[in-house]
């Protein structure tokens, strides 16, 4: 392996370039017409244009990415997160083209990408599963009421296709079930061309806790402890931290070992994340899904363990990674990540694209890391994700990490797009957050106070 094409953009492309460079590898960036002047293009040794701004015409085009690899002489591909990273067909096409795929097998991507199959595999490895219904192709078909009763109330009606919570409805009793099912079905049919729906048990106060895993592809797998990602808006993560606050060690260890077991049973290769939903009141935990890629919030784990997960992915793919045992992985102190978004919290977190007229960041240290794909003067385009930067702070204790985060957020200056910087500070400084009382409804619950701060 000499030259790595990074099939991505923004901060993750920049971050992958950094690890490649440390490993002595040449880097090839790809870019859409909107990203011609982007930071990841400037940082790479070479860059190849792959089409118009909409992702489906550029970053999601398997043929164009492979053409770019051929044209630039790259011999390996790192997909980053999002875009083609969990597209099994892309992984296969990369390997069929004779290139090294820096990621798990196409089989693992495909099986874990099928939510039902993933649940079956997790269950076979002994992981607890949240009760769900079968998928109904149409709301009119099948016995909705008995499926609802089997799942139990309150439940969520969800669209099987698509994501982002579109069409999702909460149902508190059997009387509302049919109307909700029909509403979600009709919304999903129009939006996704697929009206299939299913029910899932709704947890009143849920926490989202995930385990970082790393498999060697031969049945050996380790975990790198958990990240609590409960602070979310619109079902998207905003603040992540590790260790998860107020989680007994016995539960943390059970979850981590279960995640590593699933990874080992699947002979999984590379970095992955096993997501769990945890009932904040009972601390019962259930497998939700597995993400077969590097995760946005992976720096939280890197800050605590001192490991470079992206370098580990690359070294595993090129066959130079030394075997780590579970005992080699030590998580020390507390790390926390805040995602700085170009969005307006006061307008229901609506996107706020635009030019970064000003973008100043404090100096990075061993305990303060800022990953961004932007510089002052760059455009935050409406074609892509609203994330401007990830701010990751570490400290010996959670309280110390919180103080460092508040200080770092205060030192960041952004003009141009509306951002959630003030909102993040209000959230991290909120008394309930300081106490560690996090749950996925936190932002919704404390929104007035967080907006007023």
């Amino acid at each position: 392996m000499n030259s790595v094409l990074i099939a991505n953009r923004g901060e993750i492309a920049c971050r992958i370039i950094r690890s490649c460079r440390r490993l002595g590898l040449r880097t090839v960036a790809v870019y859409s017409e909107a990203d011609r002047g982007a930071l990841h293009v400037a940082l790479a040794d070479e860059a190849v244009g792959i089409g118009p701004p909409p992702a489906r015409d550029s970053y999601l085009r398997v043929d164009r990415v492979l053409d770019a690899a051929r044209a630039s002489g790259a011999d390996a591909v790192h997909p980053g997160y999002g875009f083609l990273s969990e597209n099994a067909g892309f992984a296969e096409a990369v390997m069929a083209a004779g290139l090294t795929w820096i990621g798990p097998s196409a089989r693992a991507i495909r099986e874990m990408g099928d939510k039902q199959r993933a649940r079956d595999l997790a269950q076979a490895s002994g992981l607890p599963i949240l009760v769900g219904s079968p998928v109904f192709r149409e709301a009119g078909a099948g016995d909705l009421e008995s499926a609802g009763a089997a799942v139990g109330y309150p439940l969520l009606v969800k669209a099987a296709a698509g994501g982002g919570g579109i069409g999702m409805r909460r149902v508190d009793g059997p009387g509302q079930l049919r109307a909700a099912a029909e509403g979600t079905q009709s919304m999903a049919a129009k939006a996704f061309g697929n009206g299939a729906i299913y029910f899932e048990r709704f947890i009143e106060r849920a926490r989202h806790i995930e385990i970082q895993v790393f498999g060697y592809g031969d049945g050996h797998a380790i975990h790198l402890y958990e990240r609590d990602c409960s602070i979310q808006r619109r079902y998207q993560k905003v603040i992540e931290e590790s260790p998860a606050p107020c989680l007994p060690d016995a539960i943390r260890n059970d979850m981590a070992l279960a995640a590593a077991r699933l990874c080992a049973d699947q002979r999984y290769a590379g970095a992955g994340t096993i997501e769990f939903v945890v009932d904040a009141d009972t601390l019962d935990w259930y497998f939700l899904e597995m993400n077969t890629r590097i995760q946005v919030e992976h720096p939280v784990t890197e800050m605590n363990t001192g490991l470079d997960l992206v370098a580990m992915q690359i070294e595993l793919a090129r066959g130079t990674l030394g075997a780590l045992t579970q005992a080699d992985v030590v998580s020390s102190g507390h790390a926390m990540e805040c995602r700085v978004y170009a969005e307006n919290p006061a307008k229901n977190f609506m996107p706020s694209p635009g030019r970064l007229v000003r973008f100043e960041q404090p100096e990075q240290t061993a305990d303060v890391r800022i990953d961004s794909g932007f510089r002052a003067g760059d455009d935050v385009s409406h074609f892509y994700d609203p994330m401007i930067a990830k701010v990751i702070c570490h400290g010996p204790t959670r309280a110390a990490a919180i103080e460092r985060m508040l200080e770092t957020l205060r030192a960041i200056r952004i003009e141009g797009p509306v951002t959630n910087l003030d909102f993040l500070r209000a959230a991290v400084g909120h008394p309930d957050f300081r106490k560690g009382e996090v749950f996925t409804g936190f932002i919704e619950r404390f929104k007035p106070a967080l907006l007023a701060a």
């Binding site: 909409p54 982002g164 579109i166 919304m187 129009k190 939006a191 619109r234 170009a342 969005e343 307008k347 609506m350 996107p351 706020s352 694209p353 635009g354 409406h382 074609f383 892509y384 994700d385 609203p386």
Partner: protein, 73 residues
């Protein structure tokens, strides 16, 4: 009869148009869905009525405050 103008709240592109001219719409029923920064944002009528004009096409980019649909209410 009155005409109300529905405006885009954000800068983004038109992802899906769900209603055609002459279609009846209910209160808060989405008429089109915009896409910006990976978020899908429905544009809905605050009152029930009939779609009078759709001023955009799928794939168009529109700015914050652009009138996208007119509805007879």
């Amino acid at each position: 009869m009155a005409i109300i103008e529905l405006k885009s709240d954000i800068t983004g592109s038109i992802w899906k148009i769900l209603k055609a001219v002459g279609d009846a719409v209910e209160v808060d029923e989405p008429i089109l869905i915009m896409e910006s920064m990976k978020m899908e944002i429905p544009v809905s009528s605050p009152e029930s009525g009939v779609v009078r004009e759709v001023l955009v096409a799928e794939g168009d980019t529109v700015g914050d405050g652009t009138v996208v649909v007119r509805v007879d209410v």
